[in-house]
């Protein structure tokens, strides 16, 4: 049969399996149907819930403006899919085209999409992590538990790690009037994602809102009472804090363990795929029937020297899922690259933080509009004489302009004179990212070199 005939048959009566039933999995399923796939579609998800949205969990939900169990994602198309929820994929047989489930079942596929995302990195000391009052925040069940505890007016909340999620949690707690301590190993909040210059603004914001912010500090131990309830945290400077809630916000771990030994190029840094979302095997050869999208993927990006990027961003999951789904049922000449310019938002302490590009690649940053002191500005990052990223605090309207600059490789520092340029914006300063060999939990963008089979992992949990 001709190649075209096989593709037609795949589109008509093929079997597509999606492992990971969250944002990327749902959007891919919708795209498959929209593009005319009429074969069998199976979504496998280990959470017992239908796909829901996570960003509200650290914002509206903790503020009590929305309910943790009511953030299900809207549907745009009838999916006519087979849902296997509450059951995890436990193994993959690439040669046979089969996914093994942890209830013993097996599901065969002609095309497989992996969207298993990431999970919260737990507190590294298991007995301490078990204490009543120690939380992480990744799932709606996590959010429901945490929100219930916050509603019970704890004496103090300790947030361990001031990346985006930790900072948003601290913000919600302050808005609820709860005393909050934030312990951050780096020099400032958000330093891994945005660098030290912008991190200082994030630190000012936290302190202005009454957060007891402690930077350059590690939590060395969590102590419980005789009933197993958290009562105290010990810090690397020898002090301790009485607290009955600790939220561990030390970043995420990729959900790839189920692929161990399968022969797929999957490891702690995620699953490597080509620009068309096809997964690599461990030999560095691209597969033809296995695709990847969302937080679990690492894929090479043309705008950033074809280095592999991992993006823990909502927008990336949406865009990459659509591309992967399209490519799964298209001939090679019709396939599209995933060329999405990284972008995310965060809402904390009443400020809208948005970014485009890859700030953590930035060597220098310039305040192109507004002023750091006003907490309202646009910072532009440069790398090797090019605009590589931009971040705005309450100035979202400028970002699209800088996105175009990034896309066109515009020179850095910017030569034009921009609106509302202040004196501090006349000269770029070092962006002040932490030494990349010193891992942080902060960046939600990870640049991980050129090797599709790179299995190294750099994070070491913050224990004193």
């Amino acid at each position: 049969m001709s190649g075209d005939g096989a593709l037609e048959r795949l589109r008509r009566e093929g079997r597509i399996v999606i492992v990971g039933a969250s944002l990327a999995g749902l959007r891919a399923a919708e795209t498959l149907r929209k593009e005319g796939f009429t074969g069998s579609l199976t979504l496998i998800g280990d959470e017992p819930h239908e796909p829901y949205d996570r960003p509200p969990l650290s914002k509206q939900v903790l503020l009590g403006h929305a309910s943790a169990d009511r953030t299900e994602l809207p549907r745009r198309h009838g999916l006519d899919a087979q849902w296997r929820l509450g059951v995890a994929a436990a193994g993959l047989d690439m040669a046979a085209g089969r996914v093994r489930l942890d209830d013993g079942d097996e599901v065969e596929y002609d095309r497989l999409l992996i969207t298993t995302g990431v999970r919260a990195r737990p507190w590294p000391h298991p007995a301490e992590a078990e204490l009543d009052g120690v939380f992480v925040l990744r799932t709606r069940d996590d959010a429901a538990r945490l929100q219930r505890r916050l509603a019970a007016s704890p004496r103090r909340v300790l947030v361990i790690g001031a990346g985006f999620t930790g900072s948003e949690i601290a913000s919600a707690c302050r808005e609820r009037g709860l005393p909050v301590t934030v312990a951050e190993r780096g020099a400032a909040p958000l330093v891994g994602a945005l660098g030290g210059v912008i991190g200082q603004v994030a630190a000012e914001l936290q302190r202005a809102h009454g957060v007891d912010l402690r930077c350059g500090i590690m939590v060395t131990g969590l102590e419980g009472d005789s009933a197993g309830r958290l009562r105290r945290a010990h810090l690397s400077d020898g002090t301790s804090i009485d607290t009955d809630v600790a939220v561990v916000s030390l970043g995420a771990t990729r959900n790839t363990e189920w692929l161990a030994g399968s022969g797929l190029g999957a490891g702690p840094r995620g699953i490597a795929c080509d620009a068309g979302c096809r997964a690599f095997d461990v030999r560095g050869i691209v597969t033809d029937d296995i695709f990847v999208a969302g937080d679990v993927a690492r894929s090479p990006h043309a705008l950033f020297g074809y280095q592999f990027l991992s993006l823990e961003h909502w927008g990336n999951a949406v865009a990459q899922a659509a591309t992967a789904a399209h490519n799964m049922i298209s001939s090679s000449s019709e396939r599209r690259p995933h060329l999405w310019v990284p972008a995310f938002w965060s809402s904390q302490f009443g400020v809208n933080i948005k970014s485009v590009g890859v700030p953590s690649l930035g060597e220098e940053v310039i305040v192109a509009q507004g002023s750091l002191a006003d907490h309202r500005f646009t910072g532009v990052y440069g790398y090797q004489g090019r605009v590589i990223a931009a971040v705005s605090f309450d100035q979202t309207k400028w970002l699209e302009f800088y996105q175009r600059q990034i896309e066109s490789g515009a020179p850095f520092p910017p030569e034009y004179s921009s609106v509302d340029r202040r004196t501090e914006g006349l000269r770029p300063v070092p962006a002040d990212f932490p030494d990349p060999s010193l891992p942080t939990h902060g960046p939600t963008v990870t640049v991980s070199g050129y090797s599709p089979t790179d299995q190294r992992i750099t994070f070491t949990p913050g224990r004193g």
């Binding site: 549907r75 745009r76 087979q82 948005k354 309202r376």
Partner: protein
Amino acid sequence: MRLVVDLNRCQGYAQCAFLAPDVFAMHGEESLLYNPHAEEAQREQVLRAATACPVQAILVEDTDEAPATMGEGLSGVR
């Protein structure tokens, strides 16, 4: 009814907060907070807000396709 806002797209025009204030609210100068599960009684306002959004960032559940509730942990076709 379910909805989601693409906040990468949102520019803080606040049309939605004006048209459906029980569902969308500005938080600070330009952050939008919304309830991802609006009351059925809000449907008309939410649809109006979605239509009015200058950057079309609001995605609302397709009415005809409202999924039947499914028991937790079950398998089902939908």
